[in-house]
Symmetry: C2
DNA sequence: CGCAGGTGAGACATTGATGTCTCATTGTGG
DNA sequence: CCACAATGAGACATCAATGTCTCACCTGCG
């Protein structure tokens, strides 16, 4: 019994700390362990009891980001309907995690990129979506799926930062990212 | 006379140091002053004589990046021909500075963004290009010029990082960035 | 009541980067 | 050849963040 209660309480605290840390690091990626602790309303000592160090915290945030992306991919039902609509659903579903993704995207430039199995799985699922769109004749084939995946991450991070600075309105996130990725800046004569 | 020689020698050294620093920081944005000095083939003391500190170095790199962007904007002749072609010329001209821009783009998330007059001027020039394209009926009007400018920076940085990790070939830089920004992922029925 | 686990506060040593300083060396121009 | 200016090498103090530790507190539960 005591073990059950213990586990549950730890899980709740851990999740709360992670979410506030994500929110803070999204705004200030160089925030100190002390600042993270204060933001979460706990002491630095307790923060250290939950996460062995800054690396452990960032790795936990990475896991959280991966999990939220996986959830967004699931919710977007990438296999259903046209690839374009799947992309729009994906961008829409991923918006709540955009800030966290932007932080992780910036951090990932420091690590050895592409080594993590979680990211590889995400890349593969997104890449498969673009491949499907290409095979269906819906997407152009001169832009590689790898680049489209990379560009999607980049546009999400760019838009998250632009929102943070007030240059893009939050309600426009999905439209700005999805429509630029899908249709680009040029007008469509046909539509 | 001695003053003239002095100035010229300093200028040459300074430029060489800046370029190697840019190349290093592009790959490892957390590189130490010591690493920067070693990369430039000078001692840390000399590096400090040229740049008062890390902040001064980064600010000098920022000036260099701005200057290279301005040069690219000039070379691209944004006022000539269609806006699409101007964008393609711009991306092509800006490629040599892509790594440095990617570094600065990542760093800028730490500063108070949009405060620098140099960046504001660049943003204005790029924004004007997108406005011209919209007014000519060439670009869609539901994507704001501010977002298109932001997206251009983001795609340049993303592609620079993807090239660094070997996910995109350097020769494809212009095509990947410009075509995605202009035309997006969807196939064009008309073309 | 008493206690055990979790916590907050804070002291402490450690580490890594930074900025400053000195001194010997070099090499270039006068 | 001499003098000067710049450099390289390294010692040194400083500073900020980190990780570890102790101790007091409180809170719930037996």
């Amino acid at each position: 019994m005591s073990h059950l209660r213990y586990s549950r309480l730890m899980a709740v605290d851990r999740d709360h700390v992670l979410r506030t840390a994500a929110a803070l690091l999204t705004r200030k990626s160089t925030a100190t362990m002390d600042e993270v602790a204060k933001a979460a309303g706990i002491s630095r000592a307790t923060l250290h009891r939950h996460f062995a160090g800054r690396d452990a915290l960032v790795r936990a945030l990475e896991s959280l980001g991966i999990a939220e992306c996986e959830a967004a991919l699931d919710a977007a039902r990438l296999d259903e309907g046209s690839a374009s609509e799947a992309v729009r659903r994906l961008v829409s579903e991923i918006q709540p995690a955009a800030g966290l993704l932007a932080f992780l995207y910036g951090e990932s430039q420091l690590w050895e990129a592409g080594q993590d199995a979680g990211w590889q799985r995400l890349d593969a699922r997104m890449g498969a979506l673009f491949v499907r769109g290409q095979q269906a004749g819906e997407f152009r084939i001169d832009l590689t799926p790898v680049w489209l995946t990379e560009a999607l991450y980049g546009l999400i991070a760019s838009c998250a930062w632009a929102m943070h600075d007030g240059r893009v309105a939050p309600k426009d996130f999905t439209h700005m990212v999805a429509e630029l990725l899908l249709g680009g800046a040029l007008r469509r004569e046909e539509s």
